[in-house]
């Protein structure tokens, strides 16, 4: 047997889009906790700060990007997801000023390609 998680996604969310992006994450994700996937901006392009994530996903996660349609609300997201917010976030994907997503790439290389650097906020040990 092989894993069902056959792809990976690297996502960068502008700080202003974090709330909407979390609704999209919860809609496409696997846990009610996904409503807090993006919490704090930790990368920047010098103008805009971004919250980022890199994760493995099943093929079904990428289906909306192929069809253009968001899936039905799954049980774990009932009562949590604002589909209007999720749709806004989805429509912004890889548009100017919107969410950025890349598939099957090294996250650190992708952040560099996007011109993103880690915000030097790491606290001393």
């Amino acid at each position: 047997m092989t894993t069902q998680y056959t792809h990976s996604v690297t996502i960068a969310v502008p700080a202003d889009w974090i709330a909407d992006a979390n609704h999209l994450a919860c809609l496409l994700g696997e846990s009610s906790a996904d409503i807090e996937t993006f919490r704090q901006a930790t990368y920047t392009d010098g103008t805009t700060d971004y919250a980022v994530a890199h994760t493995v996903v099943k093929a079904a996660f990428l289906q909306p990007t192929l069809s253009g349609d968001l899936p039905e609300t799954p049980p774990h997201a009932e009562g949590l997801v604002d589909r209007v917010a999720a749709q806004r976030a989805f429509d912004s994907l890889n548009q100017s000023g919107g969410l950025r997503m890349a598939v099957d790439v090294d996250p650190h290389e992708q952040f560099s390609d996007w011109g993103l650097e880690r915000i030097p906020q790491e606290q001393e040990i």
Binding site: A33, T55, V56, H108, E122, I125
Partner: protein, 253 residues
């Protein structure tokens, strides 16, 4: 009689460190261990990890203390990996993290043994391999803390107590891509560091430990670990790390 002889000659396993109810943790990075499902894809423990590449949302503590590590957020789950011989949990240095709750301050002594390999130090200043460092910044949140240094790629640092109790292990060359077993010992009189079971240094005294927030593997406010973890043993009421180090070496090196 035969049962006693069998147990006498059975391979040493870390459960002996917890045989009298001692506090601590014992984590292995493989889906099933001695017939027990140990890794699950979800934090609720309903979907088992089976295959190389499955995400890990729950890792059970084998010490018997119930200090299970979990990750409820789908994107933050690290990945189970295997090459058929070794097993490890892979952390991406971006957002992967496993957490468990705070442990009580050891009243006597404590050891912490971790097997790991870092892929890169390029993306984080102080990658945290394992430690008591998930909450707000506070010099006292170390029980212990094992971290790396982007500025010093030959170094592994351990800390018990405050900042000035940090002690460094100098590997002599870059630790990137090296599989290592680090033991941090909180002794009755001092702290000691071991690398692959060999004593590296001894501190001048015994640090004061103060409660902090939860333990984490993978990320912390101080830095994100990018690499592989092969196993963790943290055991109270002992300062002999030798057997645990040999066990972790066996599944790491």
């Amino acid at each position: 009689m035969l049962i006693n002889l069998a147990s006498q000659y059975a391979p040493w396993l870390p459960d002996r460190l917890f045989a009298n109810g001692q506090q601590g943790v014992w984590y292995v990075p493989q889906p099933v261990y001695r017939g027990q499902q140990v890794l699950f894809q979800d934090a609720a423990g309903t979907t088992p990890v089976v295959d190389d590449g499955d995400p890990v949302g729950l890792r059970l503590d084998l010490s018997g203390n119930g200090n299970h590590q979990s990750q409820p957020t789908s994107a933050d789950r690290p990945i189970y990996r295997t090459d058929g011989a070794r097993h490890w949990i892979s952390f991406n240095g971006v957002n992967h993290k496993l957490l468990h709750d705070e442990l009580p301050i050891p009243s006597t002594t404590c050891i912490c043994v971790v097997g790991f390999r870092t892929n890169s130090l390029a993306n984080s200043s102080f990658p945290l391999v394992y430690g008591n460092r998930n909450g707000a910044f506070d010099n006292a949140h170390r029980m212990p803390l094992i971290h790396l240094s982007q500025a010093n790629p030959e170094r592994v640092t351990t800390q018990w107590g405050a900042d000035d109790n940090a002690t460094d292990i100098d590997y002599g060359s870059t630790i990137v891509d090296e599989r290592l077993v680090v033991s941090a010992v909180y002794g009755a009189a001092n702290e000691r560091n071991y690398l692959n079971g060999e004593l590296q240094n001894t501190s001048g005294g015994r640090a004061e430990l103060i409660d902090g927030t939860g333990f984490t593997s993978g990320t912390s406010p101080s830095g994100n670990f990018e690499g592989d973890e092969f196993g963790v043993v943290l055991a109270y009421d002992t300062e002999d790390q030798s057997r645990a180090a040999e066990y972790i070496k066996g599944i790491t090196l």
